[in-house]
Symmetry: C2
Subunit: 245 residues, 2 copies
Amino acid sequence: MRKIKLKIEYDGTNYHGWQIQKNANSVQETIEKAIYKLLGDKTGIVGCSRTDVGVHAYGQVAHFVTDSSIPGEKFSYAINNLLPEDIVIKHSEEVQEDFHSRYSAKGKKYRYLIYNEAHASAIMRNRTYHVRPELDFENMKRAARYFTGQHDFAAFQATGGQVRSTVREIFSIELLRKEDNLISIEVSGSGFLYNMVRIIAGTLVYVGMGKIEADEIPDIIESADRTRAGKTAPAEGLYLMEIYY
Amino acid sequence: MRKIKLKIEYDGTNYHGWQIQKNANSVQETIEKAIYKLLGDKTGIVGCSRTDVGVHAYGQVAHFVTDSSIPGEKFSYAINNLLPEDIVIKHSEEVQEDFHSRYSAKGKKYRYLIYNEAHASAIMRNRTYHVRPELDFENMKRAARYFTGQHDFAAFQATGGQVRSTVREIFSIELLRKEDNLISIEVSGSGFLYNMVRIIAGTLVYVGMGKIEADEIPDIIESADRTRAGKTAPAEGLYLMEIYY
């Protein structure tokens, strides 16, 4: 058997997230069906990150095993022919048997896009979080710096998360102004708690609105109290950019 | 009667262009219906640019007359409530009686987006022109410079155009690399012939592929021969950015 690694881009708008589930259209199932059409084999694929409904990916990674003789790098072309346009295999390759999309991952990079204008964007709808009041970008930048490093991020975890430890390391977090009205939060880290990036984004938006002071962030992290952080920013602004191995 | 000016953003994917036509969904008709719902008046709106099927706009401008007493700047909010999400009135204001969205225009700015990678983009589908072979960006930049200034652009007009003069002035044309794989052509000018920006984009893509030499551009312009320019690049990469008054 050979192991194939896929790098996947998708527009999450029309899917109920990555993970297969009953009575709902998932990215995983759509790709598995395409592989089934290609190989005639019911092959399960294992994705690194279970992105939620509406979340997008430029760099989701998944693996599967097969005894097909198709060269590793050709799978992307062959599968893409059988996929809808909103899912694209960007890259495929054969990997060592011990590679695992989830367990071999050393970190991830996310982007969160905020569209800051009085009226929503027609073109960037489903792609950005629309925030109406003008945000104080410099304050948001100042607040963001406090997230860097290793912290207990319990205050930035959706309730119901069931992980043993809530300590994570953020390698870097950067705020960029992409166009006049488009703010990008680029964050990479060792791993993320459930909804952690969306809660960080929501907290930075509160800082931009003046509802939370930039210098309160260390205190909020320290408190481990979810109610002190900002709201969970909506799924449509979130992009899984890259997975580090 | 009062005259109201609208600045409009739309995602052209689901419309048969700006202009009202029988048996097809147009941006103009969708806005007119929303205004009708708001005011109870069948009010015709006059747009500056008749964008084609699939073309997007960040800054289309239209005007209409009304005897409603709604303050000019409030129309955007009121009409947006009645529009689908892929059309947004970004700004509205009352203007002088002699303002005309088309005849008062002094120039326009367009953007053309090229996605240059082996595989298409799931997220930027319907938003970019996917070009597979790696383009020579520096050559494209060099070629673009030749378009600046006043020229007879007959070679860059779709056949069937019926204008008296094919002389136009390009104020500026700039190529930007937005992300690794995203090239933006930003062009502003006094006015544009039918499909002119898309033919310029297609010609620059040919330069990027080595099918046309950068230094051939002056000769191609001079020739006034449509067959010497590149192919008309597809509608989905084109954005009407701004109209100058």
